[in-house]
Amino acid sequence: MTSKNRTDQWAGPAIETAGLVKTFGDNRAVDGVDLRIEAGTVYGLLGPNGAGKTTTVRMLATLLRPDGGEAHVFGHDVVREADAVRTRVSLTGQYASVDEDLTGTENLVLLARLTGHSKKASYDRAAQLLDAFGLSEAAARQVKNYSGGMRRRIDIAASILNTPDLLFLDEPTTGLDPRSRNQVWEIVRAVVAQGTTVLLTTQYLDEADQLAARIAVIDKGKVIAEGTKGELKASVGAGAVHVRLRDAHQRPDAERLLRQALDADIQLEPDPVALTARVGNGSSNGAGAAEKASRALAELAHAGITVDNFSLGQPSLDEVFLALTGKSDHAETSPQPPTKQAQQQTKEATA
């Protein structure tokens, strides 16, 4: 365990769990989670507060002992071979995992020393990292005086001090302003580009959308959906075409035409001139939906129906999320469950 080799002998997944369970009293915080995360990718664990994301990560990082099931990190059992797991992972917790009373330099030197670097090498490494993270000027300041964005940076810097094979990022951008958020994303991309596997937990859909290759949606301790972004969006089939007519009398005709052209359910809005069509196309660029929508518009024009306004809503992970967790406050705006037809089309479209 004195040196490490990126390519190791292990060719399997970076993380594999089977029926992982953790209970706190009556609360089954993690309730049978199965995950398989390929090495070298960013995997997003998406879910609302209290869904069990952090608990899952803490078990994988050997901080919590599972009450049931199994978890392996690079083939090592997280309970029986915790030490082997620890040599390969790094954790950036939800709350800054650095010592606030210490300065930026001291924090990094402390961790470098703890992982066996000589005093000189530790100070060198700390200076290089602070420089790369744009924190050189704050190096001698206590972390408690850092801004939110700076804390995140020093936290991630501490995590990659030894270039981990697997990096856990637990809600890395919660509470950050958009600018700092983008910077954290940039760092994550740079880390992944060097071959580190990242397990990211987030409540933000766009964050998962931006960074993760695959996503597991987790709610009440269970994985309720898993797949690539495209697959998840497709499973809900929620591209929406919104049409506003000039004349309310033409709405029944428009409804019939749109249903034929789009082959989708048409919803009559409370506004007497508005209609919404759910297009069963989940491909992330929405090209198929756009094509069909323009055809439908042409048919409306051909039938002499005047369209005042038209918009094509992109299917978003938001809709996926709300549909899956059922946590929407606005039931009428949440997408309907996918129809068989819609799914059929989706498969064709993504094929």
């Binding site: 992972v89 010592d99 020393r113 703890l114 790369a132 005086n145």
Partner: protein
């Protein structure tokens, strides 16, 4: 012990230098990991952390400077006339004992520090490192040993000014202080356990006081046990603090109280053997 988080007197991110992804990438490529450090190295590194904390928050030295001075002055002049005829005579008897009392009382802060610190995110990082598990806590105790040494120096200085003249000379005094620090290091494992076991800082404080008051007062620190009723003597004579203060007093007096030294070290060993593993069990579960 003011470790409370101050509000960020925010440096805005707009002022921040950008992240350099190129140099970041270069840093990430050099993946050679140095050999794993041993238990002693990691413990001393955590000890260094404790010393950095003292450096950044020097106010926390109040309890090893002002508090001991206050105790020496208070008890010497309060009891001196009544118990030994004069404060000057009394201090010859009292000082080693009051030294033991102050330092064992200071050990309590270890539990408080652990209790406050353990909830912080940085512990997640420490616990996910491939290092000898107890070194995080041993580091605290090493930092605290330094505090005990400081308290001892302060009290001895005040004592010397007030007329304390130890017959054991420098050697005896150093021997006594060393024994005291070893004992306190071992005794602190009781507090690390409570620091991990109890949920709030206040409860740690309360429990510590409940234990420390009877332990330090019902000893031979202030008066000789012969003056006490029989049932109390039974407790006092078997109190580890009595053994320790007798040993320290003896060493500073120039005698070599072998039995008392052995008892003190025996108690120290027992504390580590019992409370060390319990602490580590709690630490691993936390």
């Amino acid at each position: 012990m003011s470790t409370a988080t101050k509000p960020t007197n925010g440096t805005d991110t707009a002022d921040l230098a950008p992240v350099s992804t190129e140099s970041l990438a270069a840093l990430l490529v050099s993946t050679e990991r140095p050999p794993r450090p041993n238990a002693i190295q990691t413990s001393f590194t955590f000890g260094w952390r404790a010393m950095l904390k003292i450096k950044h928050v020097p106010e926390q030295l109040f309890d090893v400077t002002a508090f001991p001075i206050m105790l020496v002055l208070m008890y010497t002049y309060l009891f001196g006339g009544a118990l030994a005829g004069s404060p000057r005579e009394y201090i010859q008897y009292l000082l080693p004992g009051i030294l033991v009392m102050s330092v064992t009382m200071i050990t309590m802060y270890t539990g408080l520090a652990v209790n406050i610190d353990i909830e912080k995110g940085v512990f997640d990082r420490f616990r996910s490192l491939p290092i000898w598990r107890p070194s995080t806590l041993v580091g605290y105790l090493l930092g605290d040993a330094l505090r005990y040494a400081m308290a001892s120096v302060v009290m001895l200085s005040v004592g010397l000014i007030m007329g304390f003249r130890p017959d054991g000379g420098v050697q005896g005094v150093l021997g006594g202080v060393l024994l005291l620090i070893i004992f306190s290091f071992a005794f602190s494992w009781v507090w690390t356990m409570f620091g991990l076991l109890l949920r709030t800082e206040k409860s740690v404080m309360g429990v510590s006081m409940m234990i420390l008051f009877p332990l330090t007062f019902l000893s031979d620190i202030f008066v000789r046990p012969e003056t006490m009723p029989g049932w109390l003597q039974a407790f006092v004579n078997n109190n580890p603090i009595t053994h320790l203060s007798s040993a320290v007093r003896g060493l500073m007096d120039g005698s070599w109280p072998t039995a008392e030294i052995a008892w003190s070290l025996g108690w120290a060993g027992l504390f580590v053997a019992v409370f060390g593993p319990v602490t580590m069990r709690l630490y691993n579960r936390k």
